[in-house]
């Protein structure tokens, strides 16, 4: 497929207190970013089960973002630290399935960082475009 035409499907898990609020601020500030992303709101990034990520890739997602509060800022004290450990493990699992690790990304976005949210989404979208379609697709 021509990379210019390839429009990846990207899922983002955003914690309610920081990243989702950051996404809202990007909206209020009318910061434009690629429309490939679909956000799923969760209360804490610590809620993200590796299974959700695996399911997303099996169903054809081209990239998955997990966005939480900056370290030390977790609304639930330490949920993001759990995520910090869980995501690298999930990445290793992805590798075994033949999915590039870069398709899963963990980033911290605070409620005040609308610009950062837009930047993270923009950068990740172009990264996934570069990677091309999810290798599991069609297999």
């Amino acid at each position: 497929m021509n990379k210019e035409e390839f429009e990846p499907k990207i899922l983002a898990f955003c914690c309610n207190w920081c990243a989702y609020a950051g996404a809202d601020l990007a909206g209020v500030s009318r910061m434009q970013y690629p429309p490939n992303i679909r956000i799923i709101r969760i209360m804490c990034s610590g809620r993200v089960e590796p299974e959700f990520v695996l399911k997303a890739f099996t169903l054809g997602a081209d990239g998955v973002l997990v966005l939480g509060c900056h370290p030390g800022d977790c609304h639930y004290l330490s949920g993001n630290y759990k995520t910090m450990r869980r995501v690298p493990l999930t990445k290793r699992l992805l590798e075994q399935f033949g999915v590039e690790q870069e398709r899963l990304k963990l980033e911290w976005v605070s409620a005040a960082e609308g610009a950062r949210f837009a930047q993270v989404v923009t950068d990740f979208t172009s990264k996934v475009k570069e990677l091309g379609p999810n290798p599991l697709k069609g297999s």
């Binding site: 909206g27 434009q32 799923i40 709101r41 209360m43 809620r47 299974e51 997303a56 004290l77 960082e113």
Partner: protein, 1089 residues
């Protein structure tokens, strides 16, 4: 808009419009994008650029028209992207490229339309103007000026002022430059006045703003304000564009300030502070050199929402700096500037800024902090200082006396005198002035108006034992207006002020409240989901970019959707009535609203559900504005597709949501306070005065704690009189029961319903106390030193022992000739890396007392950093003036003590290296006083286990959040205060004790406590009792039942983060409202149509 409805076809879609609209407006309202250059919604259409050309078909004939001026007609067929249109637009782009080759907006259009180069002759390579006329029109039509207009004809046509001279007609409002799509307008060429950008106050003037603006991104409420002094409408009556374009009609120019009278029983003053303005300090070059910034400006420069989007750049040339210097104590510790106090926070924030800056600059960053004493006396701040050193920040103890720019480079040369007394020079490319805190002029005036006593600097005066009370009864104070302080202390004091106010107002509690009644909740169990979907246009905020009717039609095809409609504003009051009616009419048992963010509007819609008799959790929200229409404004088709996806996901989840019944438990209205010291007693009294019953537990046979040994404070108030009065009040209070010689043996339960088992009189009596909240105020003790001959020579005392001897007027002590104080004994070392905060002030206090008794006594204070923060700095200066000698020592080269016999007297010789002189110093002392560490009691560990609350590495209790919840534990219903939290003064302990009581009141004042509805639960059938969840839960809400071998959730403690669910290997742990199936269904529907 008025006028009769007209139906036309745009790009094969049926579009409804009103008579009088143009094709462009009709297309925009339908989310169809047509490129424009000379169009502006606030100006008369001009049809100059023609880039908005479209093809229309009328009576079988097709032609090209300009959509911004062509009115809609019934049955009109419009093509916005036909081959002919594209061909015409390409030609126009080529013409404009030839005329204005440098215009970025034209280059972008060219790229979009695949125009690589122009075939026409380029007249002027540098030209930017495309002759769209927006500038001239806005000046004439909206600003009422016409300072610029088109001049010349044909190829000579251009925008200019009359006679090409700067004109007085122009008021330098900048509207022309603002609307210019290419940046062709240079305000300096037009106006005779100096164009001044309006500085954005929040960015410290490092960026600019418009006259209507949102003050800062997280403001509450987050709405724009109009700066009347800068707004053209207020200045001349013209413009008015904002009122016209605001769809919600929220702008009202008639609004005036009004005087509102409020009946209040108490007033809390929290006016904050101003930072010191270093402009008058000529030698530091602030405002003379662009690369000299204040610490607050630097803070904005580091911020992702700041003027440089979080990329650290120098203001001078926007290059990333490589060498940064911080100069401390700018506007602090300087009586000549009217600020003889220490601002308390600057050392820590400078270290923070230096550490954060390293994260922002990719290359190696060299950082130096020039300081007098590093005062990181806050809880755990000394560890932060050590981390700063490890990360390579250089700390130079020196006085900087001059900053000068190095010609042309923007770099700055710093001249300073270090401890060696020799002047040195060093070059940096950015200098940050660590400015101090001072009371704002408004706060001083407010204080005067209220008739409260201010101190000599204009801060609010408070006495040593009433830290939140002003001199006027019923008026309380908190925050930096009471004295410079950091965020944790400010938040503590704020709660403390609220505690004092609520004690005063306790009799009036709940006298002005009204209880809301709801209809009984419908039982929907077993019913097939019938989902009602309400999709919001939000004016044009969503409707202008997302095809809302199309999305509505799409949603109707989704499974279980029983009803769908779209609304102009779904959040409006009439829509709430509509939702309720539709729930009734269509027997809806789930509701989905697609509009803005649940973070602001979910409570409103949940309330509507409750009013309709539905469980409030049968609701799901889809954010198609903030996360769709607003962020994909240029891609309406894709935004519409995304909105459909988001709704499909929300509907999928809605099919699976269940009613939730948050646990509601009655509250026991009594409190258990552990520790009968000052903190424990003050919090007990604060609660008892509000008529709550208090059980006060003390291990010893009497009340008072460590304060029994404190006789006077630095500001010369008698601590023993205060203590005796406090003990009497506690003992006499009918609502307080004191338990002496009492130990806690067991504790269980949860917020609102705790049970504590106590053991009295060495185990002879075991009692159970039931209570709703717990306050831990177990205090701390003086460290018993092993060093410096302590315990081996009776003339070596601790500071508290010295104080007791002074109070007793022991002639050997108050009459001695040479007294040496050694600071940081047992603090700030490997074993106890924290600062004990009170010892420097203790030393000064005792030194001043001794000097008052015997002025000729030689007193030497051997210190590492003198940490006389806040107003204590004055006493440090006083001690120096009275001849107390301060000698600094390095921790690597501590003072050495030896016993000596000299001239028939038995002396202690103190030897050490003075880093200032660089020489060995020896003092023959009669008495040695040690400033020893504060250490937490051993039993803290036991209590921590019993109440499931954490300790920090040093054994002090660890609060839920250092800044935001400084007296709470993560475990609900348990609070902390006093020395159990960290070393602090009596005054600070009292403020914190009131704060803990105030936080406890928020629970005790309730009849019942309703827990979070979104909590976790365990499916016991598949739980193996492995206990992974128990370890992960930050709230101690999950405990594995050893007998039944299953995990059990205490819903009263669970906060619903879902971390346990993500880790549960068997899937037994589930988060209500965010179950595995619900989230998985969203993942699935997002990807599979």
């Amino acid at each position: 808009m008025e006028g009769k409805e007209i139906t036309l076809e745009i790009d094969s879609r049926e579009v409804k419009a009103r008579e009088g609209m143009t094709i462009l407006e009709a297309a925009k309202s339908a989310g169809i994008n047509i490129p424009t250059l000379c169009y502006h919604p606030a100006l008369t259409p001009f049809g100059a650029c023609r880039i908005c050309s479209v093809e229309i078909v009328q009576r079988g004939r097709s032609r090209i028209v300009t959509s911004c001026v062509y009115p809609v007609e019934e049955g009109l067929v419009v093509k916005t992207k036909s081959d002919r249109v594209i061909r015409d637009r390409k030609m126009l782009i080529e013409l404009m490229l030839a005329h204005a080759p440098k215009a970025e907006v034209i280059q972008e259009l060219a790229h979009e339309y695949g125009v690589e180069k122009t075939r026409f002759k380029i007249e002027d390579e540098e030209n930017l103007c495309i002759l769209c006329g927006l500038c001239a029109r806005i000046c004439e039509e909206r600003m009422g000026k016409s300072a610029i207009n088109f001049v010349g004809r044909g190829v000579n046509r251009k925008v200019d002022t009359p006679f090409h001279i700067q004109t007085e007609d122009c008021m330098a409002c900048g509207a022309c430059a603002f609307v210019c799509p290419t940046g062709a307008i240079k305000l300096e060429d037009i106006t005779r006045y100096k164009p001044l950008p309006i500085p954005l106050e929040f960015d410290q003037g490092l960026s600019s703003r418009s006259p209507i603006y949102i003050p800062y991104p997280q403001g509450v409420p987050n709405v724009p304000v109009i700066d009347r002094d800068k707004c053209v409408h207020f200045l001349t009556g013209e413009c008015g564009i904002c009122q016209e374009v605001c769809q919600a009609r929220a702008i009202n120019y008639e609004q005036e300030d009004e005087i509102v009278e409020i009946d209040a029983g108490a007033i809390i003053l929290a006016p904050g502070f101003d930072e010191f303005d270093p402009s008058p300090l000529f030698n530091y070059g602030y405002r003379r050199y662009p690369n000299v910034v204040t610490s607050i400006e630097f803070e904005r420069m580091l911020s992702a929402s700041g003027p440089f989007q979080g990329e650290l750049r120098r203001p001078f040339d926007r290059k990333p700096p490589q060498r940064i210097a911080w100069i401390q104590c700018i506007g602090s510790r300087d009586e000549s500037l009217g600020c003889g106090y220490c601002s308390s926070v600057c050392c820590t924030y400078a270290i923070k800024e230096a550490i954060v800056a390293k994260e922002h600059v990719p290359s190696e960053l060299e950082e130096t902090i020039f300081f007098m004493d590093i005062r990181t006396h806050g809880k755990d701040f000394d560890k932060f200082y050590e981390r700063g050193k490890e990360e390579g920040i250089e700390f130079i103890r020196a006085k900087v006396y001059g900053v000068e720019e190095v010609d042309g480079t923007g770099n700055l040369s710093l001249k300073y005198v270090g401890e060696d007394d020799r002047p040195s020079t060093d070059e940096f490319d950015l200098v940050v002035l660590s400015v101090g805190l001072r009371p704002s002029q408004e706060a001083i005036e407010l204080g005067k108006r209220l008739g409260i006593q201010l101190n000599k600097y204009g801060f609010c005066h408070t006495s040593a034992f009433s830290p939140v009370e002003t001199s006027k009864p019923g008026v309380f104070v908190c925050g930096a207006f009471q004295g410079p302080k950091d965020i944790p202390e400010t938040v503590m004091q704020a709660s403390g002020a609220a505690g004092s106010a609520s004690t005063l107002l306790a009799p009036a509690r709940n006298t002005l409240t009204i209880k809301k009644e709801y209809p009984p909740e419908k039982d929907v169990t077993g019913e097939e989901p019938r989902i009602g979907v309400f999709i919001c246009h939000c004016g044009i905020n969503i409707g202008g970019y997302v095809d809302v009717p199309e999305v509505t039609e799409y949603v109707k095809t989704l499974p279980n959707v029983a009803y769908a409609e779209n609304n102009l504003y779904t959040c409006s009051q009439d829509t709430q009535e509509k939702i309720k009616a539709m729930i009734e009419e269509h027997k809806l048992n789930r509701v989905v609203v697609a509009s803005c963010t649940p973070r602001t509007h979910e409570p409103l819609f949940r309330e509507t559900l409750k009013e309709a008799g539905l469980n409030q959790y049968l609701f799901e929200m889809s954010n198609i504005r903030d996360q769709c229409s607003w962020v994909h404004m240029h891609e309406p088709e894709k935004a519409t597709e995304k909105a459909k996806d988001l709704l499909r996901m929300a509907v999928a989840k809605a099919r699976l949501i269940e009613p939730l019944k948050p646990l509601s438990t009655p509250v026991n209205h009594s409190a258990l306070v552990i520790g009968g010291g000052v903190a424990g007693m003050v919090s007990a009294l604060t609660l008892a005065d509000q008529a709550f019953e208090v059980h006060l537990i003390e291990r010893e046979g009497e009340l008072g704690g460590v304060a029994k040994r404190i006789h006077y404070t630095l500001d010369s108030e008698d601590a023993q009189i205060f203590l005796a009065d406090l003990i009497r009040k506690v003992k006499e209070h009918p609502k307080i029961r004191v338990y002496y010689n009492t130990w806690i043996v067991d504790a269980y339960g949860y917020v609102g319903n705790f049970t504590t088992e106590i053991m009295r009189y060495r185990g002879r009596v075991i009692e159970k106390i039931e209570h709703g909240v717990t306050i831990i105020a177990t205090g701390a003790q003086e460290y018993k030193p092993k060093e410096y001959l302590y315990g081996r020579d009776p003339r070596v005392l601790t500071q508290l022992e010295l104080e007791e001897e002074i109070a007793r007027e022991n002639p050997d002590i108050v009459g001695c000739d040479n007294l040496v104080m050694i600071q940081c004994v047992g603090s700030r070392n490997g074993e106890r890396p924290y600062c004990s905060r009170v010892c420097c002030n203790q030393a000064i206090k005792n030194a001043l007392k001794l000097k008052a008794i015997k002025p000729e006594m030689n007193i030497y204070i051997l210190y590492r950093d003198m940490r006389t923060y806040g107003f204590y700095e004055e006493y440090y200066q006083e001690a120096r003036q009275k001849g107390v000698i301060f000698l600094r020592y390095d921790p690597e080269d501590k003072p050495r003590l030896s016993q000596e016999r000299k001239n028939g007297r038995y002396l202690i010789r103190v030897e050490g290296k003075d880093p200032v002189l660089g020489e060995e110093v020896a003092i023959d002392a009669d008495i040695i006083a040690l400033g020893v560490a504060m250490v937490p009691p051993e039993e803290a560990r036991e209590l921590a286990m019993l109440y499931k609350v954490p300790l920090n590495e040093d054994g002090f209790f660890l609060e839920a959040h250092v800044k935001l919840r400084p007296v709470d534990f993560a475990t609900d219903g348990v609070f902390l205060c006093g020395l159990a939290h960290a070393p602090k003064s009596i005054k600070e302990s009292i403020a914190q004790a009131k704060a803990a009581a105030s936080r406890a009141t928020t629970i005790l004042a309730k009849e019942t406590i309703t827990a979070e509805g979104i909590v976790c639960s365990i499916n016991e059938d598949i739980c193996s009792g492995c206990g992974i969840c128990e370890v992960l839960c930050p709230y101690g809400a999950i405990v594995v039942n050893k007998e039944r071998k299953v995990a059990e959730v205490n819903e009263a403690l669970c906060k619903g983060c879902g971390t346990c669910c993500a880790a549960c290997p068997s899937g037994a742990a589930q988060q209500r409202g965010f179950t595995r199936d619900q989230i998985a269904s969203m993942v699935e529907t997002a990807l599979v149509v």
